[in-house]
Amino acid sequence: MTSPAGHRLIPHTADMGIEAWAGGLEALFVEAGQGLRQMLVGTAPVYAQRTLTVSLTAGDRAELLVAWLNELLFHFEVDGLVPAAFRVDRLDDTCLQAEIGGELFRPERHPLHHQVKAVTYHQLILERRRHGWFARVYVDL
């Protein structure tokens, strides 16, 4: 964790993980979303040409993070929305409202890095650490 906010992909024998860190919870959700985007299509620029508003609930904040990432995945797979930018409008312990901006999936523009089946709850971490918030999720590839 060298910068105040960021994300990185971490290895797992069969699958992969995302670690994200940020000063605030909203920024943490944004970083985790960027991590998933990186896993799906890499780091090439994607622009927020269209937007989508989502409203999610879950049992607690960690589960909300999983729900958020699975929501991004659903819209990627079903609507072909490659996520680019995120705005968190409301976030509490069990509820998230956010806007997802992105562009429509085109294989020639968005080289697919990994097809992600789902974001899991395995060894899920979302916690406050000394310098801010930290999260780790594993995905099923």
């Binding site: 992909l9 290895p11 797992h12 024998t13 069969a14 699958d15 992969m16 879950a58 049992g59 960690a62 589960e63 729900a67 699975n70 659903f74 797979e77 079903v78 072909g80 999936f105 294989p107 080289p111 697919l112 890095h113 990994h114 097809q115 089946k117 789902a118 899991t120 709850y121 395995h122 060894q123 899920l124 594993y138 099923d140 590839l141």
Partner: protein, 480 residues
């Protein structure tokens, strides 16, 4: 976490009960495999499964065990019908991911001249990779509901294959208890355009040759002979299954809280088998399983069509028949003898294959004398195996055995190992043609990423939880 592991014999290891474990762990592995396993988290996951309520017998792991999420991959666990639980994480996201093996009357020499064109045509005709689909197969909402309840039989009725195919599929291609009302609108939406698609990752379609026969009598009943061309299909329930699992995990997380079930890992969330949440999950899981059976059935029809077109010969001549079709991610109601008493159990197999013996009521009529066929794919550069189930498996592992090679390298490490190599070119020089939607997938799926499946089936055979019949060598591979 340092685990105490006791060696029982050359291929069995016990993890004694400690802490919150309700039973011991039993791992099938060679000493060399165990040395590798001690370095990763899969054994800890065996212990976590052993903590779940109502587990019957040990929490088991097959020799292809590796680190999964929640349950280890290669995990088998059975639960009592009244005291036990069902855990969607113990089935996995790709519900009824499985393998189907087709035989043929073709010999490899007949195929060689057209192999290049054949693999191109298979790659074209069977959608693989993200977002690919056949425009000529679009399901209406009503049709999708039929797929979920009738599975492979729906596909046959729609003209994909013949009724005789159903005789050679686990559960005849439809698991009972499927209720489409238990499947969310989102899961239905994800599934509608993905029926008849291979997907990506470790899913594949492979044209193979029978390289060696180990059990001639069983091979003859299976219709296998040396030099013969076979085709393997490895895929599952696609986005529909992933969504069913994800929806159910959310429900099970709150159910586990409500029923006071302590979870060593949230991914193990579960509900008592007697609860409405469990019934709901099992009804949805059966739908996803049936979707997967239909998926492999449709792909089978396209494989047959492609062979016919390329070779200009009909089915009467090619005889591309289904040898068998197995699930390796599933939870099933089964009756087993436990300490001399018949008990109804919910057997979870996550990256494990059912391996029922000769004479078992659930073994297909055609295979009553040899046992249920068990299909064990290896990696794309080496070989796959055909086994049959045994009485030993029924006695010791609730009739279960391994499902594949099992990964040893992470995808990242595999990519690194493949760097500087022309993986596709190197395989081609060894006579294995590969077509893939994404180049990254090929690097991640290199042989070195997997255990040698020969070692895995050797442990299975030594332990008596499967009997080796034949080894198949890849000729052409289609990857997502």
């Amino acid at each position: 976490m340092s685990l105490r592991i006791e060696q029982i014999d050359a291929c069995r290891w016990r993890i004694p009960r400690t802490g919150a474990m309700r039973t011991e762990g039993l791992v099938f592995a060679s000493a060399a495999m165990m040395a590798d396993l001690r370095r990763e988290q899969a054994l800890e996951q065996v212990c976590n499964v052993a903590c779940l309520p109502g587990i019957v017998g040990p929490a088991m792991a097959m020799p292809d065990i590796h680190w999964g999420y929640g349950f280890p991959i290669g995990g088998v666990a059975a639960f009592d019908a009244t005291e036990g639980v069902v855990s969607p994480g113990g089935v996995g996201y790709d519900i009824n991911c499985g393998v189907r093996l087709l035989r043929s009357d073709l010999e490899v020499a007949e195929l060689r001249p057209v192999l290049n064109r054949l693999v191109d045509a298979l790659f074209r005709n069977v959608p693989s990779g993200v977002g690919s689909e056949r425009r000529d197969l679009r399901l209406s909402v009503a049709e999708e509901q039929q797929v979920l309840t009738r599975g492979a039989a729906w596909a046959v009725k729609r003209g994909f294959g013949i009724p005789a195919d159903l005789d050679h599929i686990e559960e005849r291609g439809a698991i009972a208890g499927a209720d489409p009302a238990a499947v969310s609108a989102r899961a239905l939406e994800r599934g509608r355009c993905q029926l008849g698609t291979l997907g990506s990752g470790n899913h594949f379609l492979e044209v193979q040759q029978v390289e060696e026969i180990f059990d001639p009598a069983a091979a003859e009943i299976l219709g296998l002979f040396p030099g013969q061309v076979t085709v393997s299909i490895h895929t599952g329930s696609r986005g529909l299954g992933y969504q069913v699992c994800d929806d159910s995990l959310k429900e099970m997380l709150s159910a586990a809280r409500r029923y006071g079930i302590e979870l060593p890992d949230r991914q193990l969330c579960c509900a008592p088998l007697t609860s409405p949440e469990a019934r709901h999950y099992l009804a949805a899981m059966a739908c996803a399983a049936n979707f997967a059976f239909a998926n492999r059935q449709i792909i089978t029809a396209w494989v047959r069509e492609t062979f016919e077109q390329l070779l200009g010969r009909g089915q009467a001549d090619l005889r591309l028949g289904v040898i068998y079709d197995v699930c390796h991610n599933i939870a099933k109601w089964e009756e087993h003898d436990v300490d001399g008493r018949k008990r109804r159990l919910c057997v979870h197999r996550k990256g494990a294959t059912r391996a029922f013996p000769p004479g078992h009521a659930e073994t297909s009529a055609a295979y009553q004398s040899i046992g249920q066929p068990v299909l064990i794919p290896g990696d794309m550069g080496r070989y796959s195996y055909v086994l049959v189930g045994t009485a030993g498996a029924l006695r010791e592992t609730f009739g279960s055995t391994c499902h594949g090679a099992g990964r040893v390298l992470s995808r990242h490490a595999a990519k690194k190992a493949a760097r500087g190599h022309d993986v596709i070119g190197e395989l081609a020089s060894r006579g294995i043609l590969v077509r893939a939607a994404g180049r990254g997938t090929v690097a991640e799926e290199i042989s070195e990423a997997y255990k040698d499946v020969a070692d895995v089936v050797a442990v299975v055979a030594q332990a008596g939880i499967g009997k080796i019949v034949a080894r198949l060598k890849p000729l052409a591979v289609v990857k997502g």
